[in-house]
Symmetry: C2
Subunit: 459 residues, 2 copies
């Protein structure tokens, strides 16, 4: 597996903290020459003599030229993130200083790390399996309680453990069945078929549960995109403000998460809802149907997970509303109908009282907004994000699990039809293969490179 990973023995270096200016920044090295390289740049102490997990203050120098006053943190392999000798250099957070430190390390023999290479090394050195490595990228990208929780659970091996258990039990049965093949002439059954059948059924149920969690996992990881559309003066901007105002403080506290689009993200029960700016919701009114034509509007709506159609209860007729609904249905677009400018505390309006599934609001008076959020949440997030169960968030895992389930179905059919052991063994091997692919026990280099290339540099 390793032969194709060129530079595997190199000592790698990268800035590990976010780009830009901060009070401090951290440059990280990993590889067998880490200590040697930094030692040449750090004259005040002999790092080779010092204990792991200790920190040392001093001046980093390239020849006679001082680069910065830094704190050097030492991690001796295998007691490090990568499993290799690792050094973290904590410097002043100037991009120029960071760059000079990187250059100095490179001049002493380090190589710039590829994206994800630190985590890839951790995986290759057996510090974590592939699902844990992938969860490292997920936790870095996490932006809600639910996504952080799911990723951390996976880093800590929640999903890995479940897969490992499935795999271990399956291997036992596979061994017994393959043993039967050696004694084929004697027609013995070492593997208890009834027990095996029960086991496969249980496995099938867990796999199905994991597969079902993917919808939730996807929502947790990527959020839900919502297009707010409606005729001019239906109250789109007012609604947007009502939806966001309650949440803005929370969102804006998470510095740097969203930059330009910060106003258009809201958090409902730990799930991010992205209010898609199909044509600049905040500044222009989107008169989807009238201005840009049905076709184009559908295209834009199609890119959203759900469309929130807002109308003015005083000007919309039951007829025009039905037309709108049939457009949504024809295009298989999930939608919520929102009657705005409803009056009174009960937000009731006679024209639409027979119409079911309309949420009445008064965006101006901030009425019915919480209920609308709840509806939005229930329609798009079909399970409890706080559940203790393992949640699949990764499309690669989902696809492999689909193959696992297919194999399990085949095994079950085989058992139903009393298939001979050698054919059963083939299906079991296929099932094991896909389970192993998820954790990285079975993999190929191209896939590995692809997985880690999606990481950021420095991780």
């Amino acid at each position: 597996m390793i032969n194709k990973l060129s530079g595997w023995n190199d000592t790698i270096v990268a800035v590990a903290t976010a780009p830009g200016i901060g009070a401090i920044a951290v440059v990280r090295l990993s590889g067998e020459r880490s200590f040697e390289i930094v030692n040449e740049l750090f004259p005040s102490k002999d790092l080779l003599e010092l204990a792991s997990h200790t920190m040392h203050v001093g001046v980093l120098k390239e020849g006679n030229s001082a680069i910065d006053e830094v704190v050097i943190s030492l991690f001796k392999g295998p007691r490090s993130f990568t499993g290799e000798d690792t050094i973290e250099i904590s410097c002043h957070g100037s991009p120029y200083v960071q760059q000079r430190i990187i250059e100095a390390c490179v001049s002493k023999g380090a190589r710039l790390a590829r994206a994800g290479e630190f985590t890839q090394r951790a995986f290759l050195n057996g510090k974590m399996d592939l699902t844990q490595a992938e969860a490292v990228a997920d936790i870095i990208a996490s932006n809600t309680r639910a996504s952080q929780r799911t990723a951390l659970n996976n880093i800590r091996g929640g999903f890995s453990d479940q897969l490992k258990e499935m795999r271990d039990q399956l291997i036992q049965f596979a061994a017994l069945i393959e043993l039967e093949l050696d004694f084929a002439a004697e027609d013995v059954e070492f593997a208890d078929r009834t027990k095996f059948y029960d086991f496969i059924s249980r496995l099938n149920a867990s796999t199905r549960q994991l597969l079902q969690s993917f919808q939730l996992g996807n929502v947790i990881k990527n959020g839900v995109s919502v297009a707010i559309i409606g005729k001019p003066n239906a109250g789109k901007s007012t609604l947007l403000n009502s939806l966001l105002n309650e949440d803005r403080a929370i969102v804006s506290e998470i510095a740097g998460t969203t930059r330009d689009t910060i106003e258009e993200i809201m958090n409902i029960n730990g799930i991010l809802f992205r209010l898609i700016d199909t044509a600049g919701i905040r500044t222009h009114s989107i008169d989807v149907i009238e201005n840009i034509g049905i076709e184009k509007s559908l295209q834009k709506m199609g890119s959203a997970d759900i469309v929130l159609y807002i109308f003015d209860v005083h000007t919309e007729t039951n007829e025009t509303l039905q037309e709108q609904v049939s457009i949504f249905n024809k295009a298989s677009i999930q939608y919520i109908l929102t009657g705005n400018k409803a009056d009174g505390d009960d937000l009731y309006h006679p024209t639409f009282n027979t119409q079911t599934g309309i949420s009445f609001i008064s965006a101006r008076d901030n009425k019915g907004i919480e209920e609308l959020k709840e509806i939005l949440f229930k329609k798009t997030v079909q399970a409890e994000p706080e559940s203790e169960n393992t949640i699949i968030t990764n499309a690669r895992h989902y696809e492999a699990l689909q193959q696992v389930q297919q194999s399990l179905d085949d095994i079950k059919n085989g058992l139903d039809n009393a298939l001979p052991g050698d054919l059963l063994a083939l299906d079991i091997r296929r099932c094991l293969y896909y389970l192993g692919e998820i954790t990285g026990e079975i993999t190929n280099e191209d896939k590995l490179d692809y997985i880690f290339s999606k990481f950021c540099i420095g991780k």
Copy 2:
């Protein structure tokens, strides 16, 4: 001094790394409760039992809810940046995770740090003087070799030492002269006036040198702004490209330094030259004189340190060039005249051969560009940025040093006119006051707050 600094005994917390997503981020706490607070969030070890300058891996938890797997770095006061007990929490670089850690620390009793508060505490705890503290902000903002070098020299006490020496010697003389006052009736002279005069002259010379270094210091710290102007088709964009192309690789390596304006910064001998986009140099042609009128164009040019006037040697006449020059002179604008589209290897053009001070180039053929850069450098940077001398980069220091020089002149005059000791002593005290103000030995709280408020949060 400390009474006005409310919250001085609080334990403070902030993200110390740059905002945004990185592989890792560092949250820093400082104050007497740091260990106690983090200990409550880190169940796997008792931090109070552990040695300073060690690191510990574990899960940070708030109650039963895991926040992240982190590395905890312990610095026991006074062996820390601030001089107080300090903890750095190295976490996964998700802004959400950073935020949760901050919130958890706050819930246990920490307070969000004000801008510059860590460094302010370092100053107040005597870990550094004010010039060193200010240099911390400077090194974080440094973006060239020269600015990093100057700031690091100041952090390491280069300037402080020089000031301290000046101050110590002055104090000796002040003491002797004040002693004379006690024996005023006896008309003795403890302080050797000739020696003192020599000393004051030397002090005056060093102060003058420091003051003179400010022009260079300012250029090192803030760069030089250059406006490229010229008639349409004079070759402004081509020149801009020629100037930048050579340098782009270097600039773009410094990740995150400039973002939007990255194409318009070049580095000549370690000094940043900012090519001012008076009207979108890259996209539009700026026909300053014809399009926006002389007045407005002068206003824009006035904001630049130097104007680079580029003209086409084939279409410009000596007459129009003289007109242009007289506009610059009248407005006291520093300028460089650049004759573009000059042909041949010697870039000679007969029309202007009598005109001195024109640099001929061929922007298209990339000829004469290096020479032009050298001229730009020499005209704006009037000293060697690699000099070993202390360089003043801070306007506050410059103003105080001007006062120091004024006092030294007064002392000198006093000696020349054989002023009585009590009057001399007053001038010496004034000089000592301003020297002390630079290092922060003499200061007031408002000024301190102002100085540190310009720092970033987390430093």
